[in-house]
């Protein structure tokens, strides 16, 4: 190894250095590295403090968080992403067209994103906050109303929030946002801060432990080889690489769970109006059908996004329908009774006519369900399988998992992305604490705090969500009665409810 290079490296890794010098050095070294072929498998790997595999919401927000905090901004970071990030950089959407992959962001997630300076890069005109939810049992009709201000009328007192302060609750249950809007904002934030080596369009070919060379003993360090032959040694390798995480596989961490035999069918829809309460009083709707919950979540204007959890066969039928019949089916899903829905799924067409007839014989309050779906955005209907997966551990020596790599959850509570943001926030805090205390950010012992905190928090939440799915995935009259009754009882026993809530919120201990 070239002595100049090794001394450079040592200085780079040392905590103290002038940032501008460091950047200059790195640039120099990078060109040097290219010349000497440091990317080639024979050479020593490049040494990084954090290598993040996966450029989704979790991975990008981790990098943005680390870069934006003064304590961790000196860390040497790299991102490996299979796909090109160019579509995120050039994200220039049509005003009336929305991606079908939307997620609800809790005020806590938005607060975090705001704190790391990413939220201001989000195209705000495409984000829709909502202040109320209506959730009801599709079999018994028992309804669950919820609104942030705790007032009676569902949406009373919900503020005009779109330009309001982020993170403070301000009458907001959650923010609906296209995933691409978030990831492009995060990328913009990262590139604004600079200092992250982005390897895009490159796959992880291999992860193996490093070698004991004369300069350093990297036998406990994961060394990643990418498809272009670049090798990176990671003090901390973060798996933000999704449900089939190669990082998790390398770490030998099992991910356990089951498939729900359900798919989440998504679509971007146009409704007959902006919502019963107008643009300022948006509401999210969710109805628990025996096949799974169907949710209509508000987007700006007359647009809404649909997440319909159903069986693969029924989803296939829905996808095969004409746009008119598909819209009719969505309307039916929020209005008609189970036998009607069952029948409507068996016919190959003509749903529109059937639904309009049945609506006249079905008792529902128009203002308690979403406004009529009038159109579906072409090409926006898609589906993905629903799974329950939870990694046995979020950490290993020099490994941390975040987001879907650690857990997949049923989308009925809209928690998937928020859990990932929670992971990132906790991992960032963990790294900051370790850097401040001179601890090696990669060792298992120093990651334990992150692993424990997030595992149990997510575990409780995922358990509740899973049980809710199972509880509502039945038409058995007894179960329907008991679930309606049980919720009523729990609702009245405030102590019990408060206790359950606090557990779900991740508080520790029994009381």
């Amino acid at each position: 190894m070239n002595p100049v290079l090794s001394s450079l490296r040592a200085r780079q890794l040392s905590g103290v250095r002038c940032r501008t010098c460091a950047r200059l050095l790195r640039r120099e070294k990078r060109s040097f590295a290219t010349a000497s072929g440091a990317g080639d498998p024979e050479g020593d790997p490049e040494i990084y403090d954090v290598v993040c595999v996966g450029g989704g919401p979790a991975g990008l927000s981790l990098l943005a968080a680390l870069r934006s905090h003064p304590t961790t901004s000196r860390l040497r970071l790299a991102l490996i992403e299979t796909q090109s990030l160019t579509p995120l950089r050039t994200f220039a959407p049509q005003p009336d067209s929305y991606s079908n992959r939307c997620s609800s962001l809790t005020p806590a997630s938005v607060g975090f994103l705001d704190g790391i300076g990413a939220w201001r890069h989000v195209r705000r005109e495409r984000v829709m906050s909502y202040g109320g939810m209506r959730v009801w049992d599709g079999v018994s009709g028992e309804s669950i109303g919820f609104d942030v201000d705790g007032g009676g009328g569902g949406v009373e007192g919900v503020k005009e929030e779109r330009e309001g302060t982020e993170g403070s609750n301000g009458g907001v249950v959650a923010y609906m946002n296209e995933n691409v809007n978030l990831t492009s904002a995060l990328l913009r934030r990262i590139e604004e801060l600079g200092g992250v080596d982005i390897l895009e369009g490159e796959k992880v070919e291999d992860i193996a432990f490093g070698e004991d060379t004369p300069t350093a003993d990297l036998t406990s360090w994961p060394v990643i080889t990418t498809s272009s032959g670049t090798r990176l040694a990671a003090r901390l390798l973060v798996g933000a690489d999704g449900a089939n995480s190669p990082v998790r596989t390398f770490a030998g961490i099992e991910s356990r769970g089951w498939d729900y035999n359900r798919v989440g069918l998504v679509a971007t829809l146009k409704l007959s109006g902006p919502g019963w309460g107008g643009e300022g009083k948006k509401i999210a709707y969710q109805r628990f059908l025996p096949t799974g919950p169907v949710a209509m979540l508000p987007l700006p204007g007359n647009m809404s996004t649909l997440v319909w959890s159903t069986t693969p066969a029924l989803a296939a039928r829905l996808k095969s329908l004409s746009p008119e019949d598909f819209c009719a089916m969505v309307n039916a899903a929020f209005r008609l009774r189970t036998p009607d829905l069952k029948f409507l799924h068996t016919i190959e067409g003509g749903q529109k006519d059937e639904v309009s007839w049945r609506e006249t014989h079905t008792k529902f309050s128009r203002e308690q369900v979403p406004q009529d779906v009038v159109a579906v955005q072409p090409g926006s209907i898609a589906s993905f399988p629903l799974k329950f997966r939870h990694a046995d551990s979020y950490i290993s020596q020099r490994i941390a998992l975040v987001g879907d790599a650690a857990h997949s959850v049923h989308p009925l509570a809209g928690q998937g992305l928020n859990q990932g943001q929670g992971d990132v926030e906790a991992l960032t805090q963990n790294i900051i604490y370790n850097v401040e205390h001179g601890a090696d950010i990669g060792t298992r012992m120093n990651l334990e705090g992150y692993g424990k905190e997030r595992y149990w928090r997510n575990h409780v939440l995922m358990g509740v969500v899973d049980k809710l799915h199972k509880l509502y995935a039945t038409e058995n009259l007894g179960v329907v009665r008991v679930r309606s009754l049980g919720l009523g009882i729990v609702d009245r026993l405030e102590g019990v409810k408060g206790w359950v809530m606090r557990r779900a919120a991740g508080e520790r201990g029994l009381f």
């Binding site: 040392s14 040494i47 850097v435 001179g438």
Partner: protein, 292 residues
């Protein structure tokens, strides 16, 4: 079963009394000694004991786990001490001397800090130091910032200039293993820069510490290997204070000010916590600044 005595008001009072009188049962560690055949402060029996510990030093679930868990508090305490200075501490280039560095738990962490210039860790036990050196190689970031030497404080050349002195001299869980602590601390003094700090941690000599470190930790629970601690050598905070500030007829090396103390308590399942007043009971940190 017979050992369980119901605690009544009176017995509780008696117990407290015992705790308070305990230190008096043993003479102060700073009693003057006449002959010093051994030029080193190091006790040879202690050295061989730590040899045996070397292999488990970096095992986070081994016998050094409590030390690993305590390490962040060491930094917190140093930060707290620095914060009491009238002049703010330098943001970079700080020099650390870690005496009795062992496997390097503190030395490595100090070397990783952005404000650190260099760290020198010394330890008289060669096997332990070998462990430290081997482990430091696992972090390329430590290269050039961390150095280990197999020696005692007496072996370290006396500094001839300010540049050879240290901003922070640390003695973590060391002083209770030293036979003649006063001589040892005298020797340390020369290595501290004016305005620099001596930071140490140890265990108070009380019935509680006897109960927790000797009986429970070593004999009953076996968390710590037998022979790690010699309760008779434990030093109390007021003894340290008296030594440094020259009170109570202690031999008084001049020039120290601003003593700081922080009692810490290990709560199973939670970890180490700073608890005000607990320095009288068990583990505590002590810091004192050399006059500028």
């Amino acid at each position: 079963m017979s050992s369980i005595i119901p605690i009544r008001g009176t017995s509780l009072r008696n117990f407290n009394l015992l705790l308070q009188t305990a230190p008096r049962l043993v003479n102060s560690q700073f009693r003057p000694h006449t002959t010093s055949s051994n030029p080193s402060s190091v006790n040879p029996i202690e050295v061989s004991h730590f040899n045996a510990l070397a292999s488990t030093w970096w095992d986070p679930h081994g016998s050094s786990r409590l030390l690993h868990l305590m390490n962040p508090l060491r930094h917190d305490f140093i930060k707290r001490c620095h914060a009491t200075q009238p002049t703010p501490v330098a943001k970079e280039g700080l020099r650390y001397l870690d005496i009795g560095c062992g496997g390097g738990i503190f030395a490595e962490s100090a070397a990783r800090l952005g404000s650190t210039g260099t760290v020198l860790g010394i330890d008289p036990t060669p096997e332990v130091l070998a462990v430290a050196r081997k482990h430091a190689r696992q972090d390329p970031g430590l290269q050039g910032k961390l150095e280990y030497r197999n020696m005692s404080i007496e072996g370290l050349p006396k500094p001839t200039s300010l540049n050879e002195q240290y901003d922070v001299l640390t003695l973590f869980e060391v002083i209770e293993h030293i036979t003649h602590p006063a001589d040892f601390l005298d020797a340390c003094r020369d290595h501290v820069k004016p305005g620099g700090w001596v930071i140490l941690s140890t265990i108070a000599r009380t019935w509680t510490s006897w109960f927790t470190t000797k009986l429970m930790a070593e004999d009953v629970a076996g968390i710590v290997p037998k022979g790690t601690h010699d309760w008779g050598k434990y030093i109390n905070e007021e003894e340290l204070r008296a030594y440094f500030l020259g009170e109570q007829g202690m031999r008084s090396p001049p020039g120290w000010n601003g003593p700081q103390v922080m009692g810490v308590l290990y709560v199973p399942g939670v970890g180490w916590r700073s608890v005000t007043g607990s320095e009288k009971v068990g583990n505590y940190f002590f810091g004192i600044r050399r006059d500028e």
